[in-house]
Amino acid sequence: MSGVSEALDYLFAQSFASFLALFWFVFIFEIPRYLLLFVVTAVLPKHREIEETYRGRVSVVIAGHSEEESIEKCIFALREQSRPPDELVVVSDGSSDRMAAKISSLLRKSLIDAAHSTQLRSGKSAGTNMAARLCTGNIIINVDCDCSFDRHAIRNILRPFADRDVAAVCGAILPRNTHRSLIAAFQGIEYMISISLGKQSADRIGQVTCVSGAFGAFRRDAYEAAGGLDAGGGEDLDLTLRLRRSGWRIRFAADAQCYTDVPETRAALVAQRFRWERDAVRLRYRKHVDMMNPFSRRFRWAELAHEAEFMFFNVLGAAVLPFYIFWLISTYGSFAFIVLLAAQLGLLALDLTVFLLAASVTPKANAFRLFPYLVGYSVFNSVYMRFIRLTAYVQEWIFRSSYSDSYVPNKVHKVRG
């Protein structure tokens, strides 16, 4: 105990300059991130949406692989919408369960408008592209089978299309199963902060960079002009980047609420995040790297800004953290743990502020119930997830792991390298 009190005394005795020297990591990689979120959300005004209901034809396309269990619930949630879609097109992508029979039966009951099944799996991109090719709407809404929706979700995701420059709108996604495990509860808070609050602030500065494949709406002509989804993983990020590059605006509809199941075990979460982060690296720094190159024809300042933001906070933040810890231990010995603890306490205070802000802008999230998990989340997010990210980046940069991801069929990997 005496060690702890000594350490605290030492900390409180620091001048601001020496305090900065001790906690430089927090001051460089954490505080600006929170500040950015806070300032943008609190200061910049929200977009004013036009209340009028979208009058064009709206098609919902769903491509799923072996989703026999969830497809029906998803369809019922879509049919319950205050602004029901004009067309529902479902593709069973080489399902090994009875999904093909299930969607045929939904078609016979006229619950959906088209059911297409393939015997071989082609991947999410090909399945969704086919559904988009076969549907007839002016707006194509792409949803995942395991999603369910609030009654006004479709109405609300369509509103931003009143602006003719908007090519795509991302829906708000919250986990449905936060009560199932600690990992799921942490993700509940993470989605509140990074997706709900993070995308709301990104929306205010025109920097929404990924229209999620779980719930996103696209203007058909923009979707077709961009060539739809490309082969390989991270297809939703890829398409969004390509649409942005073509000058289209991308929006986030915070009140178009969709719920999905997040991984409940550590292993499942790690696998999912490995995939996401590897795809992000591949797409941002290989496929679309020219967007950051001032000499390229396709260079845009706005793209450089979000690429730099991602590079700095996500990539560098994760890469520097081990060095920071190593430096602390080598310099301060056992005292390093007290420093880390103090840093974590400071982060907790920031997390609390952001959590409260996120809760205020995300009324649908059950913030009150998630509150007890905030302490754990603080560590989970600032340390654990950073190491996951770092591992993923290393895997991708050195082993190009995204090129053998099982999310994409092997036959596609072979062609795409």
């Binding site: 078609l107 016979r108 015997q119 090909a126 739809g228």
Partner: protein
Amino acid sequence: MAPNDVEVQDRPESRSVLLVEDSSVTQDIVQLVLKQAGHSVLIAETGEDALNFLAAEAFDVVLMDFHLPDINGLEVVKTYLANNTHEQRPSFVAITGDIRGLLADRANCEIFDRVVPKPLDIDLICSLVETLDISREKQVTPQLGNRSHPFEDLPFTFLQWPMDSGHNLIPGLKGIDAILVHSVDDLSLLWQQSGANLLPIIDLTGKLGPRADLDAAALRLEDDERTAEIINHFSDRHAEIHPDIIKSSDPADRILARLHVSGGTLEPLRGGTHRSLIQWNLIADSDGLEGAISKLESEGFLETSFFERVHHCPSCKSARLLIREECHACGSAHLKEETYLHHFRCAYQGPESDFREGGELVCPKCRRTLAHFGQDYDRPGLTVKCNSCADLTTEPFIAFLCVDCATRTPADAAPTRDVVSGVVTDTGRAYLKSGQAFFGATRQTLRFADMPLELIIALNKAASRFNETQAPFVLGYIAYENIEAIRSEHGARQAADARRLWLENLQQLLSDQPLIAKGTTHDFFLQTGVNRADLEQRLDGVKRRCDSAVRFDLGARFSTFGPEDITG
């Protein structure tokens, strides 16, 4: 239009009838029944009288007994026709016990419009008077047995279909032993003919299959013997059936009777000739038979077992349905199967026709040529393309198109009906033997045909008295529900004795010496000078005392009818 006008229109036209009959009992009955039905009846007891009446008055119908005390009926008509060649003649109906003898002479057939067998069926006479087309040019009664056919040597009378068809067949086809079918056309008309359900159908066309009782298309030496055997069998079975059922026009009764005479089984067969795709071992039209069959089943007269489930058109009930795979979007059956192509490189996936450019496969999204199956592209599945509207689907709709009325029905919405085979049960046979009495008094309606003659005459007198003086009377109808059980358990004599004893007690217990009349399956009483309501109050007590006097519980039940039921 006032309600009265409707009633007047609904009533059959009143007709003037001359009854030439020497039996006073028959005179009374026929007169009673026809007058009740609103017709005017004049009676001639001799041929001489008949000719005088015919000379003095114009009649619509002449009911002519063949055997008269002076000159016979045939002579009367011939004399009348010889003297009245230019006038419009009445319809002549011959009443005879020897139908075959009468019909054997072709001349007779030209004279009489109808021939009615003896003993007289009152209901038949009544309906005949009302339905005879008196304005039409007279038709010739068919002369049976004169056309050549393969069974001429047999001592039977045959109806030859369709040569003998027409509107003036003998009611109930009495005197005919079998039907020879020369043509399969209009067999449903033949079935509608009263009595046709009880005669063996001999098929000379070879096309009737199980609908006929004998296929005589390819004759063999033993066919004569076989024919005689079948006719005799039908005749034996016919004799077992109660007159109620023989005369019944209820389709269920007619089918049951037919099944009984032909061997007791109802056998459906799959076949394309009829629009129901089911052919029964009956010449009846298959349409609408289900109703009658399910009625027989629910009464317990037919034990059925499942044979087939048939989808049918919801509009016209036809089972001739075209099964179609259809486009979801436009309903066209012009579909073509195609494979999906998946271009690995750009994730474009669509039907092969999207890629096809002459002999090449070119990706419509990235314009690359697909050169290598398995490396550039594969075929992940099958789709069906509509050639009419270009819509694509994995699973086309299945729908039925009715061949007869062109109604389109989705496969899962097409109604079905179950076709059953059946065997006549013991209950069914009991019903065939006892007729309407099988149901007990509760379902009984008053039918003069069931009544003994002396009762009808007494009833006529009571009704006349009621019309003149309003003197009330009650006709009682006694049914014995348990008589069949007693008969089978203790023998016919014991049952008859019990019934006689019960009836004697009834006679003593009812005051003022009622008329008690014995019928075949029912008994009757006629009590004059008493109100129906007053009598009904006493009947329960009377019944209990009658029941206590006999050994067996006969299950006797009364139904009573007052003057309003009989004269109204």
